[in-house]
């Protein structure tokens, strides 16, 4: 499964619920798969998707907040897992698309095939689920519907695949429409 296919499966399962998506190819894929006002596309500030997601989750406790992250992003801000584990937001679902590489910068390796991200997440109070196939991924999202967070879903994806277009929405517009969607 490539990242764009995985994103399409997850998006179909979560509908119009808010997504904070990490900079790089993840946001680009999400934009092409399903652009919605409730998608907050990050452009810069690599590593901070889960922090932004935590901020939203702590303030919008009645909504489920999804974070679309990459393995490189998570490793860059492991401290965020600690703060999420400390604050334990029941409404936060952290989806990590893991291809053990910094694909957006040319496919350089990350350490997720040498360490166990799932163990790190478990030790910071996440409930962790892993999916390697499309079928497993769809089932996982069915399964976690009624489970309180923080939840991490690690989705193993293949390196490579299609390259989606750059984010062509102005940052201010991304912000304004996301804020409007949160009011509803």
């Amino acid at each position: 499964m490539i990242r764009k296919e995985a994103i399409a499966i997850v998006v179909e399962k979560i509908g119009n619920q808010p997504i904070i998506s990490a900079n790089g190819f993840i946001s680009r894929d999400l934009l092409e798969v399903c652009d919605k006002n409730s998608n907050f596309y990050m452009i810069g500030s690599m590593g901070l998707a889960s922090s932004i997601g935590l901020g939203v989750a702590l303030k919008k406790m009645k909504k489920k907040i999804f974070v679309f992250d990459g393995d490189g992003n998570v490793l860059m801000n492991l401290g965020s897992l600690v703060t999420i584990g400390m604050t334990k937001p029941k409404n936060l679902i952290h989806v990590v698309f893991d291809n053990s590489s910094h694909e957006s910068t040319g496919g350089q390796p990350t350490a997720t095939n040498k360490i166990e991200l799932s163990k790190i997440a478990k030790s910071t109070n996440y409930k962790v689920f892993q999916a390697k196939t499309k079928n497993q991924l769809a089932k996982t999202f069915q399964k976690i519907k009624l489970i309180p967070g923080p939840i991490m879903v690690i989705v193993k994806i293949k390196k490579g695949g299609v390259v989606s277009k750059r984010i062509n929405i102005e940052p201010i517009e991304i912000k304004d429409r996301f804020m409007d969607s949160l009011k509803k």
Partner: protein
């Protein structure tokens, strides 16, 4: 800055709509943080960039935040300020402790203490030095900017050496 003033600043900001205080501790503002912790209004993060990310998420949810840090952490935060806070025009009040303000402060603070005013200027991040006399006016200035959806910085000088 005196303990009482730091508590007053906390209360004043809190009573005027700043709902979240997120950051990494600095001894320059330790009374401010201690007081906020007692009131259960402080979230301490592992790094400053993380604190800014959380504050941005809260701001997107219509809840105003102050992010506190030492100037060492301000140096850590430059990319997050330019590519998140400023790129998306997110209103946040930064409270930054100015280590290296005194010449005889510990050596690790010398360089950042010296370049801090220019860094703020280069970033076009509006700032005011907050003190015993002007604290209320400075807070009002910051609160006004937040209402106008602009970010700004309050600087607290480290005017003692321990």
């Amino acid at each position: 800055m005196k303990e009482l003033t730091q508590k007053q600043i906390f209360n004043y900001l809190f009573n005027n709509g700043i709902e979240n205080f997120v950051g990494v501790p600095d001894s320059t503002m330790k009374y401010f943080i201690e007081y906020g912790l007692k009131k259960n209004k402080i979230l301490i993060t592992t790094r400053e960039e993380e604190a800014i990310g959380i504050a941005v998420g809260m701001s997107l949810s219509q809840s105003n935040s102050l992010v506190f840090m030492q100037n060492a952490g301000f140096a850590n935060s430059l990319s997050t300020i330019t590519s998140l806070v400023q790129l998306y025009k997110i209103p946040i009040i930064f409270l930054i402790g100015w280590r290296g303000f005194l010449k005889n402060d510990a050596p690790e603070h010398t360089k950042i203490g010296k370049i801090q005013p220019k860094l703020l200027q280069t970033l076009s991040l509006q700032s005011k030095i907050i003190n015993e006399k002007n604290w209320k006016a400075s807070c009002n200035w910051a609160l006004k900017l937040i209402k106008e959806k602009k970010s700004c910085t309050l600087i607290l000088k480290r005017d003692f050496v321990d």
